[in-house]
Symmetry: C2
Subunit: 418 residues, 2 copies
C-alpha cells in the first residue's frame, strides 16, 4: 500500500470513529483515558525499550543534546504522561454544554450546543509525551485524532499508539479514534494535509519551519502560531521593583519557550533609573543585551542592536532593549515587530493600563504580570493543546473547549416560515 | 499599476484602517452607518444611473432573467439597503464584551474580551445590495472590509463604494475601512486571496463553483458553505398534519435558497398514510417528485430517483423522497448525503427527538420546525453575513459576534511565574 493509501485509510477510519466518539458519555471517555494511564505505568519497560531504539538512531544521526533530551522517555516522563491524562480526566467535559438559549417571538426555542470538531490531525516534533497529551485532550473533547510526531520518535510513538489503541478497544471504542502515522517519510505529512474530506482541523506544533510547511501545504484549516516575539513595556512612573521582577522572570525563567520576552521597552523617563540595575541582573544571569543607541548610552556593556534584532525570536539568553518616548511609541513598536502572541505593560497608571489592553492586538495582553503566563494551565483552561495567534476560532491558548464548536438546536411545535 | 499592486495597496490600506476601526466607539460606527443610509436615499438617482450601465452590459451579455433581477437596484432595493443598515445600527455592538472572567489562585484576574477579526474580504456574486449589507456588518463589528462583487455589478458597486467612503471620511474614519475592488478581471480575486499578511478572513457567497474556487486558491482562512442538501425526516407516529405543513414550507416557500428541503425521508409506518396527500399538495405546487421504489409504489406519479438524486441540491421545485425503516436509517442517509447545513425531524417521541438532535451533525438541527429557519434573523442573531458549514470558528449562520474573536486580558499585581 502506498503512503497516500495508508493515510487515506487512516483518515477514513478516523472519520468513522469520530462519529462514535462524538456521542460518547463523559464516563466512557474518562474510562478509556484511565486505561491508557494505567497501561503506560504497567508497560514502562516496553516503552523505554522502544524509546531506546529511537535514541540510538538519534545519536547515530548526531542530533543535538537538547533534541535527544526531548526525545528521551524516562520513568519520570512516563509518570508525568500518566498524571497528565488523569488531569484531563478531572477536567469538565465541554461536549453537550449549552452556550446560549433563547425563545423567539414565534415560539421557537433556539440554543447552541457544544459539539466536537470531528477529526484533528496533530503534526509535531520528536517529543513522545506530546503523543499522549494530544490524544488525551482530543479524545476527551470527543474528537478522533491522527498523530504525526517527529520521525525520530517513530518507535516510541508506535508503542504508545499500541497502548492507546488497546485501551480504546477494551473500552469498546473503535481504535480509529487515535492513530499514529506509521511511516517516517515526509510524504505522509503532505498526504495527511490533503484529507480535507475527513480531517476537520490541523494543529502543527514545533519550529517556525515546520509550521510554515503545514500552512503552505494544507487544504484543511490550521490553528497555529509561527513564533512568539513578546515584549514587556515599562511605563513612566511604573513600580520599578515590580518591573524588574517581571522583566527578569519573562526573560530568564525559561528562555527557550514562545512566551518568553524577546524585547524590553522602557519609557525614557525611567530608563536611567531602571536600566543599570536591570542590566546588571540580566548580565549576572548571562543574558546578552542588544540595545538601541539610548540604551547603549546608559548600559555600556550592551551591544548595538541592528534592525534584525527587533523582530527576532531568540529563544535564548539574548534580549533586545529599546528606550521609547511614550506608550504610543511602545504600542507602535509592538504592532510593527510583535507576533500577536503575548504583550505586557508594567504601569501604575489606570488610564494607560486600559489603553494598552485595548490597543495592543495580541492573543494575551497583560498588565503587571509576566509574559510567561500565556499558558492554558496558568490562564485557567486546565490544559492546553497549543497556542493560536490566528484569530479564527481561537486566539491564545487552546484548551478542551477550543477543540469543540457549537451547533444550533431548534425546538419547535410545527413552526413554518412565512 | 498592475492588478496585483492595486490589490496589495488596498489590502495594506485596509490593515491600517482596521487598527482605527477596531477601537472606535459604537456611537462613531453607528454614525458612519447612518450617514451611508442617508446617502443611499439622497443619491438614489445616481445609484440607479450607474446600475443602468451594469444592466445594459448584462443584457448585452445575455444574462438570465434571474441574474438580471438580482442585479437590479430599484428604489425599493435602495430603501431596503438603508433599512438594513439601520437594523444593524440597532444591534448591540459585540466588541469589548467580556465573555468570561476568572480569578486564579495567584491573584491574576483573567478575562476574555471580544475584539474584531481585522480585515475581512467578501467575495460574492452580482448582487449590489450585498455590498451594503456586508459593509454594514463588518464595520459594526469593528473590521475593515474589502468587497469583491460579481464583475457584472462593477458600476453599481463602484458608486456604492464612493458613498460609503464619503460617509466614512465625513465621520473621520479612514476610507480604507471599506473598499470595493475596482477591476472586473478575475486575477483580482487570486491577488486578494494571496494577501495573507493583511487579510484575516475570506467569506465567499454564491454558487458552489465560486466557493470551491476561493477555497482552492486562498492562503487565508475561509468561512463558507458549499451547498445545502437539507432533509426533513418524518418519524413514526409523527403528527402528519404538522409534518405536511413543515415539509411543504421547507420545499415550496422559497425553493431557490440553501435552507430549502431537497430530500424528504419518511418512516415506513407512516408512508402510506402520509405520502399520497403530501404528494398531491406538492404536485399542485408544481413540485416534481423523484422517489425510491417504495415511494413510487405509493405515489405512481413520482419518477424513479437515481443515485444522483440523493446528494443533489436542486434549488428548484424538485424533491427526492425516500421511505426508511427506522430513524437510524434516516440518520445514516443524512450522514451519507447531507451537507451539514440544516436537518429537521418531525416527531412526537421525546427520546427520538433528543437522539436526532444529538446524532445528526449539521449546523442547525430542528425538531418540528421548517428547515427554512436556518437564517441569522430567524435564529435571533439580528442579521447574518452568511452560513458556515465549516466547523472552525462558526457553524451555522454568522452574525456580528461571528465577525469577532476573543483575546485574553490579564490583570496582575506583579505576578511572576515560578
Amino acid at each position: 500500500m502506498s503512503i497516500e493509501e495508508t493515510i487515506r485509510e487512516m483518515a477514513q477510519a478516523a472519520k468513522r470513529a469520530a462519529k462514535v466518539v462524538s456521542v460518547l458519555g463523559t464516563d466512557k471517555k474518562n474510562e478509556a483515558l484511565e486505561r491508557v494511564a494505567q497501561r503506560l505505568l504497567d508497560e514502562a519497560a516496553a516503552i523505554k525499550a522502544e524509546n531506546e531504539k529511537d535514541l540510538a538512531y538519534a545519536r547515530e544521526k548526531g542530533l543535538s543534546d537538547a533534541m535527544i533530551d526531548r526525545l528521551t522517555v524516562s520513568d519520570a516522563v512516563i509518570e508525568s504522561m500518566a498524571k497528565g491524562l488523569r488531569d484531563v480526566i478531572a477536567l469538565p467535559d465541554p461536549v453537550g454544554n449549552v452556550t446560549g438559549m433563547c425563545l423567539r417571538p414565534n415560539g421557537l426555542q433556539v440554543g447552541r450546543v457544544r459539539v466536537p470538531l470531528g477529526v484533528i490531525a496533530m503534526i509535531y516534533e520528536a517529543r513522545p509525551n506530546a503523543t499522549i497529551d494530544a490524544a488525551g485532550l482530543c479524545l476527551k473533547a470527543g474528537n478522533a485524532v491522527i498523530l504525526r510526531g517527529g520521525s525520530e520518535a517513530l518507535h516510541s510513538n508506535t508503542v504508545l499508539a499500541r497502548l492507546i489503541q488497546e485501551a480504546l478497544r477494551e473500552t469498546g471504542i473503535p481504535d480509529g479514534a487515535a492513530q499514529v502515522v506509521p511511516v517516517r517519510d515526509r510524504a505522509a505529512v503532505n498526504a495527511l494535509l490533503a484529507q480535507e474530506g475527513c480531517v476537520d482541523l490541523v494543529i502543527p506544533r514545533g519550529g517556525e519551519g515546520l509550521i510554515r510547511f503545514v500552512v503552505e501545504h494544507s487544504k484543511i484549516p490550521v490553528l497555529k502560531h509561527f513564533k512568539g516575539v513578546c515584549h514587556v513595556y515599562v511605563d513612566a512612573n511604573a513600580d520599578l521593583g515590580m518591573a524588574e521582577q517581571i522583566a527578569y522572570n519573562a526573560k530568564v525563567q525559561r528562555p527557550g519557550v514562545c512566551n518568553a520576552m524577546e524585547t524590553l521597552l522602557i519609557h525614557e523617563a525611567e530608563a536611567k533609573a531602571f536600566l543599570p540595575k536591570m542590566a546588571k541582573r540580566f548580565m549576572e544571569a548571562a543574558v546578552e543585551l542588544r540595545g538601541c543607541p539610548k540604551t547603549c548610552g546608559i548600559v555600556p556593556e550592551a551591544k548595538q542592536a541592528t534592525e534584525e534584532d527587533w523582530p527576532a525570536e531568540y529563544l535564548d539568553l539574548i534580549l533586545a532593549v529599546k528606550v521609547v518616548s511614550s506608550m504610543d511609541e511602545a504600542i507602535e513598536h509592538i504592532a510593527k515587530y510583535g507576533s500577536a502572541h503575548t504583550e505586557a505593560i508594567v504601569t501604575s497608571d489606570y488610564g494607560r493600563a486600559r489603553q494598552f489592553l485595548r490597543k495592543v492586538d495580541a492573543s494575551v495582553v497583560l498588565v503587571n504580570a509576566s509574559t510567561r503566563f500565556n499558558d492554558g494551565g496558568e490562564l485557567g483552561l486546565g490544559a492546553e493543546i497549543g497556542i493560536s495567534t490566528s484569530k479564527l476560532h481561537a486566539y491564545g491558548p487552546m484548551g478542551l473547549e477550543e477543540l469543540t464548536t457549537t451547533k444550533f438546536v431548534v425546538f419547535g411545535d410545527g413552526q413554518v416560515r412565512t
